[in-house]
Symmetry: C2
Subunit: 336 residues, 2 copies
């Protein structure tokens, strides 16, 4: 490869390889930071009193307004979620907006309003920001980068924490956000199909889960979907993850559209779900509490094993087994 | 105005007004953060043990490679500088790269290498990041957003700290970066003109200055140049700033090109200079030390007064006085 391809941006195998190559030379210079070489959702800064977690993400979603959200809401919840899944309480956010010359001011106001509301609904204070304009034709609309900082409650939850016998919980139906954006990009109106993005904060899910149970790993399956989230956990934790296809919650409308388009929903982005790897002794308790608190579609979909480390294996509805591989090639660009 | 214009992105008056309108509704939710409503270069997080300073910026500079630097180096030093001018020692950085499909991998490697080198040269550890690809034609090349976090040494240096009788120091010739990028955008080869960007870390300048003297305010004059930096300090500190045109260091090559193009160098971006507002008792000492450490063009260019708060006034070489207004209208887009 001599040029960047869309496959480099999917969150899949090609992107992992490129990022690792680009940043392979980073030296660990400071003891304060942990989890640097782990390529987790965020980074941890250890201070004398407590620790901080930070994460940054750029949001390029197209279209910028979609059923269930917009780029502003997504930019707020997306980075909140990256901090939340590490076991931290987000407190502050920095935003950087780049907008194309000619962009409607009213759309910009609506997007910023939506971002502020989303941050404030989760107790997160916007503390600083930047604003740039690019000449017409040099940027398609708007992109937003957000950085969220949070206080760590106890030890950080890392992708490397899964242990054999742990249970795998998903907090709700997968692929809702991915289905909406994919529909648009195929020229299908998601509203007509009854599709809505799951764009939301996963902070309540993490609070409920860590309050009643022991969470060993957690991840919000965005780009690359459930398949990539599980692969990353399996790889970093040096375990295998075994899931049952029939237990994975997927909305019928999402499943049927993806069947039509020939896309595996396991690779579809979620923007308000978490996959939680929980101690077997507390997984049922976490599930009960999630359901009680309104996450009625939460499910235990599998478990962690020690054999075949690094693999994700799915028992299919037909009764066979198949390896759930990392995402390769391009899927929907500008999904988030 | 119903659409975003290039003038909204210059760092001038129109941008200030738009940002203030967009973010006017932000509520102060958390005591931990100070200086939120000040729109300073960064934000301060007060912890039980010491404080942290954070800043975020998106870099859209065009061209991405230029004499004296590239977008990677600029993205590193730019955010380091925003933290440094608040009196903090930067320790960690998060980066988010958005690149256009078809972008040469070798250019990407060179840019990331340059960013890593710049961060590491200043003792800053890259701790987390994001990477996105936009389809060909939807983004012109590459944009990088960096967020830098640093420990505060003592009290934060804020734009509101200037006091009557303080001296105004600039650390070197102004407008070098702006001249390079402006030349390119006018189709002039900056190398042929002997122009080089001043793209550099201002951390050494801040260290020297705060070690030997009392710095009341400091700013790196990027978009909007020295004129906007001084206007912001004058406005936030509720003082006036009086500068002498003949004392402002500007390279002859920069001045003559800007004369030709009809651009006032006071509004040209610097990327490695600081304007320091220092206590009158230590200004000379700061200047001596800066010069001793290699900043031989550093100069005292004026002083702070109490009358006419909010104004920046320049004594011209002709002997008259003129108000240095905030930047209005568009200047060079994608300057940084």
């Amino acid at each position: 490869m001599t040029v960047v391809s869309l496959a480099h941006g999917t969150g899949g195998k090609e992107m992992q390889d490129l990022i690792r190559e680009l940043f392979s030379s980073i030296r660990t210079m400071r003891r304060e930071f942990i989890g640097l070489d782990a390529f987790d959702d965020g980074a941890v800064l250890h201070g004398d009193e407590g620790s901080l977690v930070m994460s940054t993400d750029s949001y390029t979603v197209k279209p910028i307004f979609f059923p269930g959200g917009d780029i502003g809401k997504l930019a707020a919840y997306g980075s909140i979620n990256d901090v939340a899944v590490m076991g931290a309480t987000p407190i502050g956010a920095l935003d950087s907006i780049i907008v194309e010359e000619g962009f409607p001011i009213n759309d910009l106001k609506r997007i910023v309003r939506s971002m502020i509301d989303a941050f404030e609904s989760q107790g997160v204070q916007i503390i600083s920001g930047d604003f740039k304009v690019m000449p017409k034709g040099q940027l398609d609309g708007i992109v937003i980068t957000t950085t969220v900082i949070g206080y760590l409650n106890g030890k950080p939850i890392l992708d490397s924490g899964a242990k054999p016998n742990d249970k795998v919980i998903v907090s709700g139906p997968i692929g809702d956000h991915g289905a909406v954006i994919t529909a648009y990009q195929y020229g299908i109106d998601p509203e007509e199909e009854g599709l809505t993005s799951d764009c939301a904060s996963v902070l309540p899910i993490m609070r409920i889960s860590t309050e009643v149970g022991e969470v060993h790993a957690a991840k919000d399956p965005t780009r690359g979907g459930l398949a990539m989230a599980l692969n990353e956990i399996a790889e970093k934790s040096k375990v295998s993850i075994w899931i049952r296809e029939e237990d994975i919650p997927i909305r019928n409308k999402v499943r049927s559209l993806m069947d039509l388009l020939g896309i595996d929903p396991l690779y579809l982005a979620c923007e308000g779900r978490v996959v939680i790897i929980a101690d077997p002794n507390s997984a049922e308790e976490i599930l009960r509490n999630l359901r009680k608190e309104g996450y009625t579609d939460a499910k235990i979909i599998g478990e962690v094993r020690s054999e075949r480390p690094g693999y994700v294996v799915m028992e299919t509805v037909a009764g066979g087994y198949r390896i759930v591989e990392k995402l390769r090639g391009e899927l929907t660009p500008r999904i988030c």
